[in-house]
């Protein structure tokens, strides 16, 4: 089921929760809505699901305009942040709920429903749990049952609201991988909301970075990470070093550093480079002289803080090593070359 969002806008007193969202999602894609709180990602999810109505714009499932459809009519599989399992029903009854709630005409018979419940329990790898009650389940198990329940109605699209927010770190990672595999099996068009970038980058086919009700960038995880379209995205995803400078005739200059910045307009600008994209090199026009201030090790990762002449902020440089003697020592003078970087113009 393809999903098309056109010009979705929603206002609350004093704030634009959604400000003209246009998005196209292909059938079978797993898409992450990523952003900080207040970015509108949850609002967008709820509008797609029919829990909220947008002030303007349309939601289309394939060719059908679903904008005016109620929550009940929309046939979306919504998985709530705290699962919202029916506490007075067993796991099997929870999963069967959607099918049993259908009007007589469309309702499958008991045997079919039971079969489907068993299939889904198998799918989420909890085949023996049908008779249990929600309060007897762990967080991760509840999550899987909530998914099974949503899948039972054969939804047009699966919507997950911060699916792993309420779980322990370890369970979160396991469940993340599990969800990816599940998605590959079902091929269901899925949208999930998260503020955790690791989750978005690891899980999604495409990531939608949102900010203040607008879409900042849409792309594959690689594109978002290595080719951020704006300073905001660059700084929101991963870690960033920022260097002030100027662009003149397609070249970025900051102190002794000169780099190619074709495509960026002349004027004041900033250089963005990730810590692990700073490489030790020989002195030259493409390299920055720096002095090591501190070296920190965490596991296999070595982070060095370096001072650049004429800049207040310290740069971070990162390498991975297998425990050999540290590459840098405090007080050492080195040269750093940005192997991969972005230059963005900015008004003074």
């Amino acid at each position: 089921m393809q999903l098309h969002l056109q010009g979705l806008t929603k206002h609350y007193p004093g704030v634009a929760a959604l400000d003209g969202i246009d998005l196209d999602i292909a059938s079978g894609e797993l898409v992450a809505l990523l952003g900080p709180s207040g970015s509108g990602k949850t609002t967008l999810l709820r509008v797609i699901g029919g829990l909220l109505h947008a002030d303007q714009g349309r939601v289309l499932f394939d060719d059908i305009d679903a904008t005016r459809l109620s929550l009940r009519e929309r046939n979306v599989g919504f998985v709530f942040q705290h699962y919202a399992l029916f506490r007075h029903m067993t796991v099997a009854e929870n999963i069967a709920f959607g099918l049993r709630s259908r009007p007589r005409a469309r309702r499958p018979d008991k045997a079919t429903i039971n079969k489907r419940v068993q299939e889904l329990l198998q799918l989420v790898q909890l085949p023996e749990h049908g008779g249990r009650y929600p309060d007897q389940l762990s967080g991760g198990q509840k999550q899987r049952i909530a998914l099974a329940r949503a899948l039972a109605i054969d939804p047009s699209v699966l919507l997950l609201d911060e699916p792993f927010g309420a779980l322990d770190a370890k369970v979160r990672v396991e469940l993340r991988r599990w969800l990816r595999k599940l998605h590959e099996r079902t091929g269901q068009t899925t949208l999930f909301v998260t503020h955790d970038q690791d989750e978005a980058l690891e899980l999604a086919d495409r990531v939608v970075v949102m900010r203040a009700g607008k879409v900042e960038q849409v792309g594959t995880p690689d594109q978002i990470y290595h080719a951020p379209a704006s300073p905001y995205v660059f700084e929101f995803i991963g870690r960033a070093n920022v260097l002030e400078g100027r662009v003149e005739q397609g070249r970025f200059q900051s102190g002794a550093l000169q780099l190619d910045a074709a495509g960026t307009q002349d004027g004041p600008a900033r250089l963005y480079v990730r810590p692990h994209d700073l490489v030790l090199s020989e002195p030259g026009a493409g390299a920055l002289p720096a002095r090591v201030r501190d070296v920190l090790r965490l596991g296999g990762r070595v982070t060095s803080e370096l001072e650049i002449g004429g800049h207040a902020r310290l740069l971070e440089q990162e390498t991975f090593d297998a425990g050999a003697a540290p590459a840098l020592s405090v007080g050492e003078s080195v040269h750093l070359r940005p192997a991969r970087y972005r230059v963005f113009a900015h008004a003074e």
Partner: protein, 285 residues
């Protein structure tokens, strides 16, 4: 809880949940018919008395005495109930002793017991030939058919309110503020005075207001033990019924309206107390 925002007009609801119109409509209709309509009748009639009618009704000495008695006794009873209630709440929350659960359950008895039953029971106990009344009579202390009896009955019915408003606050208070105070060197008494009491003040005041409001309008528990002598031990609610029997509707309405206004003020106070304290905390904090 997830907020289900909808346009502010109550008639056109676009919430994903069903039944807004029906439930609001039925709820308001029921409220209107059962509660608001009767009260409106009183309000209209009271307003219709006009300044003359009011003066005539209230100039009555008997009404004065009844109102004085009702307000005075309710106030005193609320104070006593608040103190005893604080004691009981403290003991129930902070200490462990055999029979604590039983005591806890008994606190609700005055609330569950029909007022007439409480009334005749209290009278029987404290009348001059009753269990306790007998002992007190020896010392020439009169409880039943006198003001102390009224106080007793009003404290009885006010107790559940004062205890139950303090209990949850005491429970959630936790030990930390006291531990912090003690670690800074304060004596137990100082801690109590400067840390615990301020925390409990809002709830205590709420309990007090509830007890006062309840006592003001109380009828069944009091009329048996009061003696009901006009000008002496006649409470305002009783005077209302007497005026009704005399077909002096205006007189009854005047007293009732006064009591109603007093109750509303209490209700207002009860709702405002937590807000007031919040503001104070914000200013100081």
């Amino acid at each position: 809880m997830s907020s289900l925002a909808s346009p502010s007009t109550p008639t056109r609801n676009r919430s994903p949940l069903p039944g807004f119109g029906l439930s609001l409509g039925l709820g308001m209709a029921w409220l209107g018919v059962v509660v608001l309509l009767p009260l409106a009748a009183l309000a209209v009639r009271a307003a219709g008395l006009g300044p003359q009618g009011w003066l005539r009704a209230l100039r009555d000495e008997r009404v004065h005495e009844a109102l004085k008695l009702s307000f005075g006794a309710s106030l005193a009873a609320a104070v006593i109930a608040s103190l005893v209630g604080a004691l009981v709440a403290w003991v129930l929350v902070r200490y462990r002793f055999p029979g604590r659960r039983l005591l806890d359950a008994l606190v609700d008895l005055p609330f569950a017991l029909p007022t007439a039953v409480a009334g005749i029971a209290l009278t029987a106990i404290y009348a001059p030939n009753g269990w306790v009344g007998k002992l007190l009579a020896v010392h020439d202390i009169k409880v039943a058919y006198a003001v102390p009896g009224i106080l007793l009955a009003l404290v009885f019915i006010g107790l559940p309110f004062t205890v139950r408003t303090l209990q949850p606050v005491l429970e959630t208070l936790g030990r930390e503020p006291e531990e912090a105070s003690a670690s800074l060197g304060a004596s137990r008494f100082t801690t109590f005075r400067r840390v615990i009491i301020p925390e409990l003040l809002p709830a205590w005041l709420t309990g007090f207001s509830l007890a006062f409001a309840r006592a003001l309008g109380e009828y069944g528990s009091v009329i048996f033990i009061a003696g009901n002598l006009p000008y002496k031990t006649e409470i305002a609610p009783l005077l209302i019924t007497i005026r009704l029997e005399e077909y002096d509707y205006n007189g009854a309405v005047a007293i009732a309206a006064l009591l109603l206004v007093a109750s509303f003020v209490c209700l207002l106070a009860i709702n405002l107390i937590p807000l007031l304290f919040e503001k104070k905390a914000k200013r100081n904090g």
